[in-house]
Point group: D2
Chain length 496, copies 4
């Protein structure tokens, strides 16, 4: 299987590590989960899993590499997942996983406790996972996977609480970092977000008594579910027999939602934090046009993620919008490039320039972000080869200068272009006539904060731009990661 | 394998039946062919084949179901296709083919003649294939496939000409209909178009002495080939040792290029008939805005094929352009819909409405064509469900009222909405506030004919809109198809 | 994959549930393990697994359904299993396992302890597994599989001992039943047999410092290893750096080796308990000829397991030996039988009668055992259809009247023909001219006990024939199994 | 898929190239064909194909690599082959076939003629195929495969006869060599043998009006069909509506049946030429014991093909029979042998010596033939390693000194041990205490000719032993093959 990618230069993008979905109170819940995961496929393409429960047949599960549509559409497979309660997970592949063991790393994870079974699906990253794992192994737990998320189920197995929701609270209080978790017992569907609510989680209703939990609202739309509300930062909901119980196991807290969900991860048709992702992105384009105007003949998106911002930029600037770059809809992750003649044509496999449109024009290219910068250079080359008069890059996010430790796959800091160059150095290295990033304040304004970012109490987690980590990355600090000077609070917190 | 589709409602679209590509004078020609076919994948997704020739290893071939990227990227397979001369074919599946025999129908076809082998790849449709097949079988030919294109190779095998190019001319003079053919012998790459040039074929150069033939220029771009020119209607080129010989085996003729290539089949970044497909489509939008203006708040394309026309419509009308419909990039051809709750949600698997954008707006939806009309109804439902105030459909082609017999998979006439309803009936049936198709003259203007369509000598084949068939569909007439009253010329021609 | 079977009427045979193999001190140990498991394939055909350790690459594992030869021969897979230390397991499928989870049940099992990893491969059956599992789950262990053998690794994880061999002793002292276990740490290969030594385990040397452990000696032969000795009942060996340490963790004990290994499970070319399996089987034939002589023209084995006993019977009786039944070498587990005409021909798919040889003769058929008896009836029918004058069955084991709880897959007691009929009733039901089983004493004589079975201290476990269970089947008793009257000792033991 | 083999040293054996089967007048004929082919699997393991005809669904076909049991047992596949008339073919792989084209070489072949379709399955070899193919291509036929058998269907397509049976006679009169052919039209099942009847073909009845044709009688047994008779040399039968018409299209002739079918190819439970194959083989052992007696302690077959002759040898000589070599039932064609330690152990993967039985004994090994001799050397080594006192080889066929051109895959003459060495040289090269082959006369006696071979009119084709080719190998002579001095008759015949 050769999966294709949401962004044509996927290897030069940040990646969400997963999408999660759960359904209760609906006939053939696993089919709903399959549909929901299909809608969340952009959050993880490597593998997926579903666990379902049926009173007569107990817990059943299937974990598969590849797309949801290629696995969880087969009647033979789906028939093995009966019941009105199911959860599922799609995951992005992280580097270095060994091919012959990795299926064990595909969630949901399952544990049989003496009061019954429990499956969990986790989106996020546990910043003290290494320490927790060490402790659990010393006490006799046997890990099945190399996934940090497995800590949660072992912590639950060892909890002295009497029922599964209480055990989950017990476990998650030991866990640091960012997480949205969907879990199920034989009779309950459970959803939790960490105290800061870094990763998204929404609640919907389907039919009379059916409820679903999902990473994004687009996964509600696909099954025609009604969007009820977001699970709040620090909230746990336990759904059973049409009743929803809410609690706040981590005490009161203020959210710090991941702003990059607005920039790139989430689907444009999702609503997050009460805002349309599409509209936020379009507004970023508007902000960019105001902050960094340029005389030009054509505004082109780098497909597909730059499109809403490019539309906004064109609308604000009055420069015509056009499809200067055409994406091959059938592209795959790899393609042979065996001869000297063919080598280095990687970019054209996925994108082609609309030469007739570009020729002789001053072109504004709108992209969502710059990570390593290698892609930007290639695209610039393509545009110039096609005869553009000028190339101006406008980036719909601030410079990405810090790695994320909360569930996003980021290169090491020394690979991040913005961690090593000034904007002018970046412009020169990429080789364009101008390069501008939206400001952090501009991004906040586009995301609904009219006053921009409040440095004392920023509404979002923006660590990848600001280096301001709301949760100390414990394991990383142990491994020698150095936080930004001035982040003493977090460092102290970590030391405690 | 679950291929996904160029258009979200693929079953309600016309389909090109194939794309063809050939390369000579380049190292590892089969890799070039693989890349070219990948760029032409939109012309046929069901299966593909490559034949290559190497002086030491002779002819080798591989035919596979599925995408180019999933098969012809495997080093093990490509290593079996050595040589500097290769041709290939991608094909769209036609209904009713039996799964366990169809690989024999995948081109290129190969025949061993006593002067050496020959492989051919055919795009188009032979309108007298049934009659030819009957005759050939009576004379002792054994057909390997159910494909009409196989007639060509059998006609060549029986030709009394001395060399393969002459045999090919001999054979193609017996063939009626529309065809672009790429063929190869041990030393020659051959390209031919029928006298009317209904289907496209272009010539490019790569490196010093390398030449390529392709259905569209986008397949030249992917390998960095220089676009030299189109093969002319009625022209045959024979390329060998860096030399190109041109001849006109069918005598002088005037082209009637398929206008639907501009509307839908070809990729927007291709140049055909000297025109940018993207620009033609954008101009159709401009024409539509002039012919059928409407007061509205938002212009949305039906992704992805409606996009250029929507951009043109927005630019001409001044109504803002927006992405009101979001396409799932991971959609497949099928998805289970097993319960009543889930049934009938087919559309949302592939598309989702950007509800926040649509709500309360008067929306102009721009789509490329209406075939059965079922899709238009579903999209209208989605848009209204999302709270649109009004829905106006603008179609970037005239009503499709006649089947194509020249290489496009069209429903029977009684399934074509426009063959059975007036525009107003169609509007009512679809259930929208207004519905307008671009006029045939408007389409010709967008395609570069400032004066519109010349009924005496139309520049394009537009039979699917006009019922004016430039070549009598012999086999179809035998099966009882009734041409439009007034098409006596063609009928007479068929009788001769 | 359609595995074929060691015996043509496999579903009417008892089955060994696994074969185990380990190697240390050899280059590419996993290849040795693959070869050893291939030689032990008759002990389990459903699935196999290998774990290997390399100082640089740590522990790696692969578990696959199907034959060793179809999986562990692939260079790509074997390259993922580097190192000089490896263990492996082949397993027979037990009824009722769900297809989509069963790969988790394939051994070896692996656990990461804080002093390092440990993998184990288990042959046998734990008679108190259900109780152990219940206890472990209550204490917070999470089981990965439905296999009873997993208890061992969890018991080890919770042991308070400091090193892995001691933890293994600790764990196995809690385990009741029959087991031969091969385990590995990063540096050690470990072998253990339960106190009664019910299941086999042998030690061999290969090259200078290489050692191997295997279920049978035939797995030493395949790699040219020298057979050193059996691991003794109740013995543990720990092999490291060319040194073998032996200990007796369960105190002094007397062996009760499974006599059915001699009758059917083991390969005829293996040496077990100091005896050639082939010779034991041939001697059973000799005993049968003495105990139950008959006038006849031909002695035929039921292929393939009855062959040595048939040779012995022919030699002792002087009746000519012949291949009256020919086995199809390409048989599979299933074959369609869709029409009335074809139905009920199951037997002939696998066996055919050598009609020319059989016709008109008085035939002695020698088979290894009678379980349900259905096979015997079908074979009798075939032989009579072919024109035999008389059919005499001679069975190379006593009547199988009791289920095995020590690692052999046996039908429930009410399915065992001998549990429900007298020998004469069996003869009548099968429909043959005579039917004789070797006596239990005769079997012991053939197995080297000149005086026959000593009822006070039988040398072998013969529970399947005698109902004398040397270890109380704890879980089974809990589920309501009723032991033979007079087995009070075992029952008491169970109650403690 | 890793097929396993009928003989453990398959690469050192001659191979039948195919088995054929046809059924008419039975419900679901393709199932009968599948069963028949399964019984004939020993005649060809690489691939198989079935063509079936149903009045409503026409001709359908399936061709697959691998065993019959792995493909033609799948209900989904078999459901695509409806009808009461079907034929099939299993084939042995010949060297050098390219993997990506070979499925086209799998029979049956099908041709559509204007009087309807026809499928054929061919066992044998056409000695003038190259010449025929050349001629057919010159006349405009296009070959689909690299198989010589395809000539037959093209000759039929070009015949001027009016119906298919007459066209088949027409075609086969042009064909030289050895062939048994089963063919089918929409309503008829046809069987033919060449004038000499070199390859076998038998006729059976099943149910009331059902008839089957098969290579061997064992394929009748599996479906419970009654063996009616052999098709005679030079006979054609046409079966339709329960009627059998017989004709002799090649005039009167005397048969020369392949004697190697008795020695090795056919299954021991088949009846050919009115004789039991098993009994012939046992008698060869008897002849060997008379011709080449030896003092010894044990007679062992080389499994499995040497078994009947070993039984005969033991019975005639009075030396005890035993299983000195045990075959691994799960062996595959390949197994990795990557390290020096493991290298050269190939033999033990498939066979193991029963050391306890062999040690100290003087052993007579009975094998069916010696081709290259490499196997015999390896087996000798194994037996001596196990401690045998003496090793005596007795071979159940004369020295194989000439290649077969009539449908058997033989090495070139310079690879045949007996073509290059005297018996004493062979004994020395193999390294055994004695080596004897049965004489050609002895073989004829065992095959029912009490007077031995009549050199003027031998009953069998024995060219592989005698160099006396009953049909001149036209293509081979053209390629330079030199026949035995004194075979002038055949050479003359070829020159005509």
């Amino acid at each position: 299987m050769q999966p294709f990618l949401a962004h044509p230069f996927d290897s030069d993008r940040l990646h969400e590590e997963c999408g999660i979905f759960g359904a209760i109170g609906v006939v053939d819940a696993s089919n709903f989960v399959a549909l929901g995961l299909h809608a969340l496929q952009h959050r993880g393409q490597e593998a997926g899993g579903i666990v379902a429960h049926h009173p007569d047949f107990g817990f059943n599960s299937a974990h598969r590499f590849g797309y949801v549509r290629d696995n969880f559409t087969k009647p033979d497979l789906m028939a093995t997942l009966p019941g009105q309660l199911a959860i599922g997970h799609v995951r992005y592949s992280t580097a270095g996983t060994k091919a012959n063991t990795a299926i064990r790393d595909v969630q949901p994870f399952f544990g049989e406790f003496h009061m019954g079974g429990c499956a969990i699906a986790h989106n996020g990253n546990i910043t003290n996972a290494a320490a927790l794992r060490r402790e659990l192994i010393e006490r006799g737990s046997i890990f099945q996977s190399s996934s940090d998320s497995e800590c949660i189920i072992h912590l639950m197995a060892r909890s002295i609480q009497r029922n599964i929701p209480e055990r989950m609270k017990d476990a998650l209080r030991r866990v640091e970092g960012a997480f949205s978790v969907i879990a199920m017992t034989r009779t309950k569907l459970i959803g939790v977000r960490d105290a800061l609510g870094v990763r998204p989680l929404v609640l919907g209703r389907v039919g009379e008594d059916g409820y679903v939990l999902a990473s994004e609202t687009c996964a509600l739309d696909i099954i025609g579910a009604e969007f009820l509300r977001e699970i709040e930062p620090g909230e746990m909901v336990v759904i059973s027999k049409g009743q929803i119980e809410s609690s706040r196991p981590f005490g009161p807290s203020t959210g710090r939602f991941c702003i990059f969900e607005h920039v790139y991860f989430s689907r444009p048709d999702s609503i997050i934090g009460g805002r349309s992702v599409y509209e936020t992105r379009r507004q970023i384009g508007v902000e960019l046009a105001r902050e960094a105007p340029v005389e030009a003949d054509l505004v082109c998106p780098v497909p597909d993620s730059g499109t809403p911002a490019a539309i906004g930029f064109a609308q604000e600037s009055g420069i015509p919008y056009g499809m200067g770059i055409i994406r091959n809809q059938y592209m795959g992750r790899t393609f042979i490039e065996p001869t000297d003649q063919i080598r280095n044509m990687g970019v054209r496999l996925k994108l082609n320039v609309n030469r007739a449109l570009i020729r002789g024009k001053r072109v504004v290219l709108v992209d969502d972000s710059v990570v390593r910068g290698t892609t930007s250079r290639k695209i610039k080359d393509m545009i110039l080869d096609a005869g553009a008069a000028e190339v101006h890059f406008r980036i719909a996010s601030p410079p990405t200068a810090w790695p994320c430790f909360y569930g996003v796959d980021t290169p090491d800091r020394d690979k991040l272009l913005a961690a090593n160059m000034s904007p002018e150095q970046m412009r020169e290295w990429i080789g364009v006539d101008s390069l501008s990033f939206v400001s952090l304040d501009g991004l906040y304004r586009a995301a609904g904060e009219a006053a921009g970012r409040d440095p004392q109490a920023p509404r979002y987690c923006d660590a990848c731009f600001s280096g301001d980590y709301p949760v100390a990355p414990f394991d990383q600090l142990e491994r020698g990661f150095r936080m930004k000077v001035g982040s003493e609070t977090a460092v102290k917190q970590a030391a405690e």
